[in-house]
Symmetry: C4
Subunit: 223 residues, 4 copies
């Protein structure tokens, strides 16, 4: 029998807390099963969420089932989660406040008034990003943060459309949204991105300009 | 039935230990229920506190109930905790020795002989500080440390009064006192402050001058 | 009765996950018992591997027993693991994506088109590397990474042969393979190497040029 | 009934492992009860020590009781542990390979051919070092490392005698020995020293020259 998505959300939030992704009530995860989307509630300690605290909404964001505790609120991130479900047919979307990602967003190259980009290449962990190989450049879009979380929806949707190969959109000085075909893939890609950001940040802190070398083919052409 | 505050103290101290906030017997937490304030004992390994080790004091600091083990002592921080209960009507006050906070206190801008201030802005986690938005500046007062912990009381009270919007007062080269309407809020705000200090410290270590941009309105005025 | 190697693999992968060595499905471990080699499966969350998920292969890499779940795949690292079993008569081989090691590979001194080297000396933890003393130089070969993991086999084998005293080969921008006469030794040596890389990286980040002093004999000769 | 010191050793080693103090079989702890000293065995994974793995020796280091598993060996550190029991009447002595301490030993000021010193002041955690106040300078002696651990005994004893106020002696590029009147005090002082080293190292990495201010009395004299 398949495991209750509410229980999975509870366990994953504990894991995210121990990774430092959801401290201070930040972050969360949503899991889709058919037309039902299970969501962690807002503004609570994520490491203590119980299965019965979760919401179930449809793809339009209408609440189908609320938690037993009526004080719990649906997250303001709901439209952001729903965008990834809709535009990418995601099976799960997580939101993390990882400090590694937050720090890297500060180094993103600006593209226009609300969008920047981070480019990563030649780390093995990039192969963990669906559709990317070792010599590929993983382009991670970074949208500017807004005073209210729901106001991110428009720029996030634009970033998703402009960067069709990314499984994630970062938010400047804020965190990241990561999705995948299921919750395991969403988590493991978030771990890869976190690792990549940690390594790039530490390189920068140590004053290392570049770690890349020419790929084999290019090297052959040169010789 | 409501959970025994002594048990909550025991569990929260274990969490604080795993976050590195209360190593070496440092730090602790007090929780208020009506006129009764539950306090962790002093000078013991905080991760091993048992419910029966806690003190109960009134708002004047008189011991109402002592722990079973008569060797345990009331913390010297008691007057500091009581100040936040009295001046801010706090429901819980915690004291952490987080290294992220300690390091940041060294960078505080001095205001007068005993008071300095740290200013943080444009991090999503600032929204976790009660009463603060993303574009607001969170001013964290930092009082100078003293040879004896109880001698901090006067400057801490002054800082609380001078900075009416802060839910915390840091102590230079020492740590931080954080309070909230209840123990959950005190903890989650302490987590937000810790995250903010970690990010600012790492920015500084990497030589990043600023991560802020003009808020939307200002940008509009300029164009 | 000896413990089932499958259970050991499951437990060790949880340990590696908590150390940050196998996040995002990366890394793993293989254990040899006679002619049977037990291997963690590929592309799954390593912290959740169950004993029944493991493969058993022979020294040529032929699958003797597959996991109950037929969707699980043998790791692409298999030929790399097998090289250490064959060339060094290893009892266990682990593969880690430790960020400490990945960062240090960027500082390796290049020897030829596909091989570099890192040199470590005068850290107590070097005594944890089999065959090395405090004043010895531990030479850790670093091979260039390749687009496909199996393409590492040739350069890894060459590195093993060129550096007969190393219990490990690192892979640039990727991670490390570490082996030992049994799984405990493989793990403890991997821990020593991880510690050594952490310390060297932090020295470099803090701008410390050198921590070494002349060994006693040399000092005597000089005076 | 008092808890078996062997069980305490087993539990403390797990704690030390999670703090990163005893990875790769390094480090350990000895506890004294009257004329009997309980010691963790050598060269094994410290996080997996069982109570029955411990040795009992007398103050001269003669083995009174060996572990059930006859393959286990007494640690080469035994004479070092015994020195602190003898010269300081310690109730417990621990040995840690904390990377924070190892890094700081590289910055120690040399006093003579085998001895250096680190000086720490004006951190609240210094008050956790027995006999030290906030404005005191905690002098931590650092002896040079040797090829064999037992060869440290002479310089360690000299350092203990030359620095009568220290509860610890660090070993350059190696780690630290910390003692106290009992095992709890030894641990909590080790935690304070670790915290202090972490903070000083991060200050140095961020280029902060000094965090100290004149103590109140001095300030008064100046004005």
């Amino acid at each position: 029998m398949e495991k209750d998505p509410r229980k999975i959300i509870s366990e994953m939030c504990q894991n995210f807390y121990s990774q430092g992704w959801v401290s201070g009530t930040g972050g969360g995860i949503s899991i889709r099963r058919g037309d039902r989307i299970y969501m962690a509630p807002s503004g609570v300690e994520k490491e203590k969420i119980q299965p019965q605290d979760c919401f179930v909404v449809n793809l339009q964001g209408d609440v189908l089932e609320g938690p037993e505790n009526e004080k719990l609120k649906l997250t303001e991130c709901a439209p952001l989660f729903l965008s990834a479900f809709e535009l990418r047919n995601a099976g799960a979307v997580l939101h993390s406040h990882s400090s590694n990602v937050v720090l890297m967003t500060m180094l993103a190259r600006r593209l226009d008034e609300e969008l920047s980009v981070l480019e990563f290449t030649q780390l093995e962990m990039i192969k963990g990003i669906i559709g990317h190989g070792y010599y590929d450049t993983f382009e991670l879009p970074v949208v500017d943060n807004t005073a209210r979380e729901c106001d991110l929806t428009s720029s996030l949707r634009k970033a998703i459309e402009r960067f069709p190969d990314t499984p994630a959109v970062a938010v400047r000085n804020h965190g990241i949204y990561v999705w995948g075909p299921d919750e395991v893939k969403a988590k493991t890609q978030a771990e890869c991105i976190d690792f990549i950001c940690e390594v790039y940040w530490k390189m920068r802190s140590a004053g290392i300009e570049s770690h890349i070398s020419a790929p084999p083919q290019t090297a052959a052409l040169r010789s």
